[in-house]
């Protein structure tokens, strides 16, 4: 688990993510979460962050959204289940999903400002970040936040510094109900299977694992009681993938744009060689003088 071999970096030609032998994952079992926010506190503490004192908007969401200082927030949803007539209190710990195919990394223009390790962690290198906000546009989960203080992008690191020395992430360590687990991706999938079986036995027929294939899987996964409708959980995307607009911008548009510019420049040079300069002749000058004299 201490493997932190770098496999991809932003704005560099590197192959698609190939999981290393020690691909890791964080599993968040939404059905076990009690919304205590110990994970938020642990995240602030480990990363030495201070969130501003905010205000109460009438919900338990606090802070209301991810910020440059809050890499994770609990999102609370009250949902009336029409099938059972129950009011369900859905609590989801939001934060970076550490996609295998990360939109932030694809969109980033600064070489090496976003990196992906062979264990699946996607991390920001703040020395190289230029604060353009392209990662915000690239992310299918609306996760990165740009600091107003230093104009750099911030998000969950999956405690890459802890994982590098064989520790689990701070949030997982702090969780009192073991709703957050951490281990190899396979271990987490096996654990999720057990939990899903249990939930199905309790009447949650649609319980399942959220490991969306649209981004080639993630390294933060959820066990959801309603996996048929992820968006119930405070707008968790049903089928996340990198936006087609971003793919077009970073794909065809980039190569076509550069090709057109190159062709135009070469075309101009070739034209000059073939056609030669368009010079004013002495005859032209004389005609102008004659025109002037006539006037």
């Amino acid at each position: 688990m201490a493997t932190m071999e770098l496999v991809r970096r932003s704005a560099s030609s590197s192959p698609a993510f190939q999981p290393g032998a020690q691909e890791i994952a964080k599993l968040i079992d939404v059905s076990k979460c009690i919304g205590c926010k110990a994970c938020q506190a642990a995240c602030l503490e480990w990363n030495d962050l201070r969130e501003e004192v905010g205000f109460n908007d009438g919900t338990l969401n606090n802070p209301h959204d991810l910020t440059p200082a809050s890499f994770t927030v609990m999102r609370f949803t009250e949902w009336e289940n029409a099938a059972t007539g129950n009011l369900e209190f859905l609590i989801r710990k939001d934060g970076c999903m550490h996609c295998s195919d990360p939109g932030c990394l694809k969109a980033c223009p600064a070489p090496g400002a976003i990196v992906q390790y062979s264990n699946g962690i996607v991390d920001f290198d703040h020395d190289k970040c230029i604060g353009c906000g392209y990662c915000v546009k690239g992310c299918p989960f609306n996760i990165p936040r740009i600091s107003k203080a230093d104009h750099k992008a911030y998000k969950c690191t999956l405690c890459s510094d802890r994982v590098a020395v064989g520790q689990g992430p701070a949030c997982a360590k702090a969780c009192p109900t073991k709703a957050i687990s951490f281990g190899t991706k396979q271990e987490m999938k096996d654990l999720a299977d057990k939990r899903i079986k249990d939930l199905k036995g309790r009447g949650y027929a649609n319980a399942g694992l959220y490991d969306p294939p649209g981004v080639s899987g993630t390294h933060v996964m959820y066990v959801l009681h309603h996996n048929d409708r992820p968006s119930l959980y405070a707008g968790l995307p049903d089928a996340p993938k990198i936006s087609a607009v971003v793919e077009l911008w970073k794909g065809v548009a980039k190569y076509a744009g550069l090709a057109f510019i190159g062709l135009a420049a070469v075309g101009a040079a070739v034209h000059h060689i073939v056609a030669g300069p368009n010079k004013v002749s002495s005859e032209d000058e004389e005609n102008a003088v004659r025109l002037k004299e006539k006037a």
Binding site: I146, A253, A264, A265, A275, V280, S281, V289, K292, A295
Partner: protein, 223 residues
């Protein structure tokens, strides 16, 4: 040089751009080049090194939108100065239909043209349209001040349009600069502000006739 007694040996000069227009043009030109260099650095990683010209990535990211504001204001000045002279007329359609002769430099086969030919007018209107698109989309993706003013979906579309419009302006810029180089005697219009009568006769005869009639054409002072 032939004998000085002959009036035909003194080339005439025609004023084309006053000092204000020239300054306006060069402010726009310098802003454009700085924008293209910093913008291309963000457009493709292979040109990211260009951020070094601006003091690194963070500073390039900070400066690019502000230079954009300068260009927008400056180009607006050019627009106000020149839009009337760039209205399309019948000569322009005739000129466009003879594009092969234009490219081959066979000016004698082209209709007489006023201050601007159809190619110059297309450069003008193309730039005007694309700069408007660039300014509008640029505001949408100006993270520092307007990052929260629009949805992420809107910002994605703005990014794509901004990049596409920028490529468009660079293509037009290549045409613009190349035409100025290819058609000898053009650049002095934007440096010294005038062209020779022969240049006017060859490329913009209708305009030359108008200037002569207005009495704006003067003989070059003796050296």
């Amino acid at each position: 040089m032939a004998s000085l007694s002959s009036t035909h040996d003194k080339p005439v000069l025609v004023d084309r751009y006053a000092a204000g227009a020239r300054i306006n043009h060069w402010v726009t030109a310098i802003s454009f080049i700085l924008l293209a260099l910093s913008g291309l650095a963000f457009f493709t990683p292979s040109l990211y090194f260009l951020t070094g010209l601006f003091g690194g990535g963070q500073l390039a990211r900070t400066l690019h939108p502000w230079i954009g504001v300068v260009l927008f204001v400056s180009f607006s000045g050019l627009f106000v100065r020149f839009w009337k002279a760039n209205l399309w007329n019948r000569d322009d359609s005739a000129w466009m239909s003879k594009l092969p002769d234009v490219v081959a430099g066979h000016e004698e086969k082209l209709p007489e043209i006023g201050k601007y030919n159809a190619g110059q007018k297309l450069v003008f209107w193309g730039m005007a349209l694309l700069i408007l698109v660039l300014f509008a989309t640029g505001l949408v993706i100006w993270q520092q001040y307007f990052g929260a003013a629009s949805s992420i979906d809107q910002q994605r579309v703005a990014l794509l349009l901004h990049a596409a419009a920028a490529v468009g302006t660079i293509l037009i810029w290549i045409v613009h600069v190349y035409a100025a180089i290819w058609v000898r005697g053009t650049i002095q219009a934007m440096t010294r502000g005038n062209v020779t009568g022969g240049w006017g006769w060859r490329h913009h005869r209708k305009w030359l006739r108008e200037e002569v009639q207005k009495g704006e054409v003067k003989t070059q002072p003796a050296e």
